[in-house]
Each structure stands twice: as C-alpha cells, then as structure tokens.
Symmetry: C2
Subunit: 336 residues, 2 copies
Amino acid sequence: MHLKTTSRSIHWLLVLALFLPALARAAEALPSWNDGPSREAIIDFVEAVSAEGSKDYVAPAQRIAVFDNDGTLWSEQPMYFQVLFAMAEVRRLAAQHPQWKSQQPFKAVLENDQKTLAASGMKGLMQIVTATHTGISTEAFRQNAQRWLASNVHPRTHRPYTEMVFQPMLELLAYLRANGFKTYIVSGGEVAFMRTFAEEVYGIPPEQVIGTTFASRFQDLDGELTIQRLAPLTHNDDGPGKPESIEAYIGRRPILAFGNSDGDLQMLQWTMAGPGRRLAGLVHHTDAGREWAYDRQSGVGRLDKALDEARHKEWVIVDMAKEWNRIYPFDQETHP
Amino acid sequence: MHLKTTSRSIHWLLVLALFLPALARAAEALPSWNDGPSREAIIDFVEAVSAEGSKDYVAPAQRIAVFDNDGTLWSEQPMYFQVLFAMAEVRRLAAQHPQWKSQQPFKAVLENDQKTLAASGMKGLMQIVTATHTGISTEAFRQNAQRWLASNVHPRTHRPYTEMVFQPMLELLAYLRANGFKTYIVSGGEVAFMRTFAEEVYGIPPEQVIGTTFASRFQDLDGELTIQRLAPLTHNDDGPGKPESIEAYIGRRPILAFGNSDGDLQMLQWTMAGPGRRLAGLVHHTDAGREWAYDRQSGVGRLDKALDEARHKEWVIVDMAKEWNRIYPFDQETHP
C-alpha cells in the first residue's frame, strides 16, 4: 500500500516533470496575453512548428511571420500616424509653398478644416503624402521622419507615437524570433517612414520592413551620391498588394500572418493557402477604454469581410479588451 | 647566457602565440585564394570591422555585403545563363506559339541564327525573356527554371550551370557569414530565376536575392490563389538601378560590394561613399584557360569605366588567373 502510493507519487512527479518545461515556457511567453483562445492557439502553433520530430515541424528558414503595422503593431486612431506626420510636414513646409494657401487639400490642412480634408478622400491623402514624402533625398526624408517622431506626441495619450505600440504584439514578435522565426512588417504604410523606427521599437531591421513605395533615382552630382525620392507611386501595399510584395521581397510564403483590417485579407488568405500547419490572426479593436473600439463601419482599419472570413475559417481573432492585460508598454497590467 | 637564450625563446614563443590565431584563421579562410593583395585586403577588412573595440568596428546588423551574380558568383559566357534558359524555353514552347516561326527574334532562336539574334540587341533579348518569364504563375515559372537547371549542361564544360559557380566566391560568402555579415545578391538577372538555386548553391535565401523584376498580380479564382507574372518590367537592376534596389529592399548601405562589370559601378560607388571602413571588389576575368578572359571590349560583362575607377581608387581587383588556385568546385587546386 505504502509502496503503491510512493509509486503513484513518483508516476505523477514524472508526469509533472515532463510537462513542467512546457508549462514554464508557456508561463514566461506572452505575459501581457491573458490565458484564452488566442494565446493558446499561438503557443500551440509555435511549439508544433518548432519541435524537431513534430509532424508539423517547419525548418527555421521557412519560419516567416508577417505583420501588418497600423492597427496591428501600433494604434491607428484618430488616423494613421503617418498621415499625421504628412500633415505636420505640410504645415512645416507651407512657407516654401505659398500656393498651398489656396490649393486643396493643402489649404484644408493649413486651416485644420477636417471636413474638407475628409471629403478629399484617398486622392487628397495621396497628394499630401506625395508632397511631403518625395522630391527629396532618402537621407533628408529619414531626418524629417525622425525629427517628427522625436518631437511630437499623440493627441489623446500625450505619449510619443513610438510608445503607442502594443505590448502583447512586441512580446509575440520576440517570442517568434526566440523560436527561430524571421519577423516582417508588410504594411500599407510608406516603407521609409516605418524603417526609421521599426528596428528600435519592434526589433525588425529595415530589410524586413515591406510597404508602399515611391520611385527613386540614383543621382551623381560631381561625385555627391544620393538617392532621390520621386513622386510616382510604384507599389500600393494594401489588399492584393500584400501577397504581391511578399512574393517580390521575401520570395516564399509566410507560415504566420497577423493583420487587423480588410486590407490584410489577401495576405492572410495567401498565408493560409500553403501546405502544412499555418496561423492567421486578426487584432480586433474591442477596447474603447484603453485603446479604441471599431470594426465594420470604420474608415481607418475597417474590418468587415476579413472578420467574417476569420470567423468562418476559425482564424485567431484577438479580442483586445478580453485577451490583453496590457495595451501599451507604459500601461500597468490590468488583469494579472 | 643560457637563461637569456631561454628568455629570448620564450619571448618569441609569446610573439608567435599572439600571432598564431590570426595566422591560423587566415590559413583556414579562403583556401582557394592564393596569398596576394586581394585575399589580404579581404581578410584585413573583415577582421577590422568584426573585432570589437577596433576603431573600424561595425555592428553585425550593419554588416551588409552585396554581390553581383553573373560573372561575379558564376560564369556568364558565352552569354548570361538566364538568356540560355530563355532561349531553351522559346524552343520548348514553340509548338504553342506557331507565329514565332516567322517573328523575330523568336525565329532566330528557333533557327539558331546567332547573327540575327545578336543584331536584335537588348530589345530582342527583352522580348525573349518577357515571353518566357511572364504570363504564368510564380509557381509554374519556378518549375520551368528548376527543370531547365536540372536537365541542361554548359556547352563548354558539360557541367550543370549550378556547378559553374566560383569556388573562391563561395568561400568568401561563407567567410563573411561566419563573421556576422548578411550576404545579398544584387543582380541584373531576373530575381525569380536566381531564387530557384541561390539558397542551395550560394547559401543565400530568397529574401536576400535582389534583381530585375516584372510586375505581378494576386489572383483569386474561386479560392484558387496564385500570383501571376506580368509583362511590364518594373525594375531594371543594372547600373544606377542597383543602389536604387539596395535602398528599396535593404534600406541601408552595404559595407562590402563585389561586381565584375560596368553595370556594377554605381553599386560599388554607393557602397564606398558611406562613412567608416568599406570594401569594393571587382572580379577581373583574366583566365582564358580555366574560365574566360575579357573586359573592355566584351559585350557580356563589359568592364571598362569600373576598371579605371577601381584602379584609380585602389579598390580590390581580383586577377582570376593569378589569385584563384581553383575556379569551380569541380576543379582541382592548381597552385597549392
């Protein structure tokens, strides 16, 4: 009897010992994610594809993970931060462009006329972005972006924009890299803007940042070499543009993709259509208190068809309010 | 006296001990490179930028090395291997394109009429490449390229094209990676073709292969997802196109670049124009016996202005005949 108990205890100790490493790993990983379906699905997936001998094993070279940026890795309200940058640049450069005082959509920016600006739509937006992102060298642009990021804060949180990144997603990026993944940004944002902060903020080097691009031209003025940024848009990295740029830049299909809007749908579909085990995730903005709550009716970050497809196909849908115990690095943990 | 001798011996032993690791490292590295100015310059450079505390130290993330492909990593005679592939594809697909029998430059390919083909110039070449590289899915193209590479041999060596890579350059790539460098191809060749063999042959993954690109379109036919390759050329990765693509894909300036022709000049200039220690190298085809000898008058791989600039600026100029004791992996070492 006594012996039997001991033997049973030893049995359970052995079982415990076998599971402890996995439990410990799981407890360490993703601390800002509450226990729940998303965290569980992510850890299950990562452990399955990285365990040698697992039927789902994927060689490290093939462990490509792609992330949308706006609304997936950092906030995107009240509008894309890059548009706020472009508008600030219009105001900064207004003295050199006196015609902007009477020319839309620049006039609306200078007069802070939100209604006219909104009415100018995507065409107006592109005019503002083009005017502030091109016609200069890559180095001058980099300095402009860094200056703005370093000296401006978000209107609601009064924090630098580079602090308005999602702590749970920073942890996810780090967790994936610790498990041999190569992490990429694939974003509708213009690529050079993101590259000024992605390495420091996300640990993603410039060569792993893919986005919307303008043309460029190498220029040699008596040995003074620059690359000039030109007005023609060469790639719009949104919707179907995302799998296209993934193929063009990476040349192989990711096994994990995360987005938050209909603009990410094709990237998620493309990721999931490959062979073997894969993971697609959507960040669902459900937290009006700590962040913002929006989906189907939203202008910025509209999540409609992708939400339906994610539900239908049982992709990971992250309920920010329920599943994240912390939103920003500067937040206190709220659901310990 | 005896003591003094011993002390001296110890002194020399110490000196030797201090230098041995460097000597040993140098002897191991780059075995197919004869002792000479190129090998010495490369090892000096790599040791200087990778030694922590060195005044020339460069953080690993910044150790970007870029290599042209044709004529730099593998041979390019009697013409670019990719053009040989395109011509073989014209012959393979001729039955589906009866009009080619009477349409130049296709007629010249089918009749093996070298003179007419040469006269069709870059325009004719692009027609052949476009006809065989676009209008199909990325997956179908990959299979076509792999099939050709697996089942054809070079007319002179009767070896598969993927064996006609330069053993000394394979060693250089591996040596750089062992010292924390990230190695890239930046080539005028079309990117998807190179990606079918670069990982296996050079150890360079698809995401580090940059080249000439065609447009593409994500296509969803009732849930059957493909990326279609389209005819418009979106980037010609030659000459000034090389620094442009380096900025677009990598987003930072390399510290080492190797090429072999005038098409590489701007990439070498761009690399050398940054701050800190840098290395630019040219492979000079001087070995008519073991490979080919050509430079200023050559059509393929013309090396004229870049050779002058390399001499003027004292860049590394690799004299293949003198400095490489082996050309291809299948060669015997000739100058041990």
